[in-house]
């Protein structure tokens, strides 16, 4: 609302200009806190053993960098001028940061089902719960009233990226199952879950791709970056969302196949110990 928020970017900003960092103390504190919480035990563990692979730390670090860029770059200031860029940011938060962070978690994390955090996570990572929350986020905030508010008002402006991040974390944690101590679902279950959870996004993407008109009033007359029309922006956003949903969908198919093979094998082989 004050002078420092003036975007000052032209209508054709370069990637470098868009990725120039801003400084929102709370967000930086959160990200640095996460980094400290991860890398301190990582380095401690590396001194004595190699059970915590370096590649996991690299992925986690990459996840944090993506989180920083999606929330703390100048791209945040041009939301009103590019729906595609906004959607790109949201998709980084929902579909790129979460798998990186989840894959970054070491396998030796132990959470028992009876501990307090174990119970809380067991509740929220129940595939039904995660799927319902994720669908609610995608559907509710893509209905014009919800989406418009996220662009125009400050309150909702910070909320939607946060919800996409949380929703994405839930989905990817269920799909990748980093906490076997509390996540007891079979491959088939996770496959079905992945498939179902990718549907709401695909539906929204299809609507954007084929809608003949601009659905969100703040974008109807928007001066868009790179000389695009609002309608083109909406269609590109559809592509971005569809492409961002593909990894979840493909992984879901892989898991379903693995499950089918498991099913087929289970008839001929003795059950193996897990």
């Amino acid at each position: 609302m004050t002078g420092d928020a003036v975007s000052g970017l032209g209508l054709a900003p370069s990637l470098g200009q868009l990725l120039a960092l801003r400084f929102d103390p709370l967000m930086w504190l959160l990200i640095l806190g996460l980094a400290a919480a991860y890398f301190a035990p990582f380095f401690r563990s590396r001194r004595t053993s190699t059970t915590w692979p370096v590649w996991r730390a690299v992925l986690f670090g990459l996840g944090l960098v993506c989180l920083l860029l999606a929330t703390q770059s100048r791209a945040v200031t041009v939301t009103q001028a590019s729906m595609a860029l906004y959607m790109g940011r949201l998709m980084v938060l929902a579909e790129l940061v979460p798998p990186l962070l989840v894959l970054g978690l070491p396998l030796h994390l132990k959470l028992s089902q009876s501990s307090w955090p174990g119970r809380a996570l067991g509740f929220i990572l129940d595939p039904w719960v995660a799927l319902a929350l994720w669908s609610a986020i995608i559907i509710f905030w893509n209905v014009p009233a919800g989406f418009n508010a996220s662009i125009v008002t400050n309150t909702a402006g910070a909320l939607l990226p946060a919800l996409y991040l949380i929703g994405g974390m839930l989905v990817w944690t269920v799909v990748l199952r980093p906490l076997p101590g509390i996540q007891g679902r079979s491959m088939g279950n996770r496959g079905w879950f992945g498939l179902l959870s990718s549907l709401p996004m695909m539906a929204v993407a299809a609507v954007w791709l084929y809608s003949p008109s601009v659905l969100y009033s703040p974008y109807v007359g928007a001066l868009c970056l790179w000389n695009l029309t609002p309608l083109q922006n909406q269609a590109i956003s559809g592509w971005i969302m569809a492409l961002a949903g593909l990894p979840t969908m493909s992984l879901a198919f892989v898991q379903l196949f693995a499950w089918l093979i498991e099913l087929a094998d289970s008839g001929t082989q003795p059950p193996s110990a897990t």
Binding site: P180, G181, P218, T274
Partner: protein, 215 residues
């Protein structure tokens, strides 16, 4: 691989109930978050905390000296120009309609101020015709204010409003690019919120914002 302890899997209906509870908690939580941010669900974008609305001076549509300062009236302030074919007429039309929805007592307490960002062409006479056309109530007159340059630039900047001449190759015929927000200032002179022009068509909620600020 080590053996993991057996995991109790919930029956599907328990999961389903959990899912419903979670969604209700999410939507309720978001609603609560919005309420804590703004106890009143303002439609416009609020200034938190409210800021003192910068004062400015110029001349009104009757060529009288005019100074905008906290005057005991709730004010909707808009920066525009009279050669504006769409957004300014639309904004003033909506603001006048909203004014018409207020109670007579509230209307007396409410004013619409149109500050020209094109002081060169927007003479008092020009402004008089313009605000006289869109302000349909004789009791609650719409004000048209001409602030000369270079003061205007400072006034606009102090509100976070921008404007620039759109070059069309002619010195007398040009359009202006400008910020299309309407600022709502309470009777103590505090900037409370702004509406984007795309929001104004929702008269009910704009009216509710004004009435809340008037309380």
């Amino acid at each position: 691989m080590q053996d993991s302890p057996p995991i109790t899997v919930r029956p599907w209906y328990v999961s389903l109930i959990f899912a419903l509870i979670a969604v209700a908690a999410l939507l309720g939580g978001v609603w609560l978050y919005a309420r804590i941010q703004n106890p009143f669900p303002y439609y416009g974008t609020t200034y938190t905390p409210p800021q003192t609305a910068p004062a400015f001076s110029g001349s009104d549509q009757d060529s009288r000296a005019y100074t905008f300062a906290p005057q005991g009236k709730t004010t909707a302030l808009f920066f525009g120009f009279t050669h504006c074919p769409t957004i300014c007429p639309l904004t003033l039309t909506y603001l006048d309609k909203v004014r018409g929805r207020l109670s007579p007592a509230q209307q007396k307490d409410f004013q619409i101020v149109f500050v020209s960002i094109d002081p060169e062409r927007d003479s008092p006479a020009q402004l008089k015709s313009y605000v006289g056309f869109f302000g349909t109530s004789p009791a609650s007159k719409m004000l048209g204010v001409n602030v000369p340059e270079p003061q205007l630039a400072a006034v606009a900047r102090s509100y976070g409003a921008g404007y620039s001449r759109a070059d069309t190759g002619s010195k007398t015929e040009y359009q202006m690019n400008h910020t299309t927000a309407t600022y709502l200032i309470d009777r103590r002179g505090q900037l409370r919120l702004l509406w984007d022009y795309t929001q104004l068509s929702n008269l009910e909620r704009v009216q509710a914002d004004i009435q809340e600020v008037m309380r």
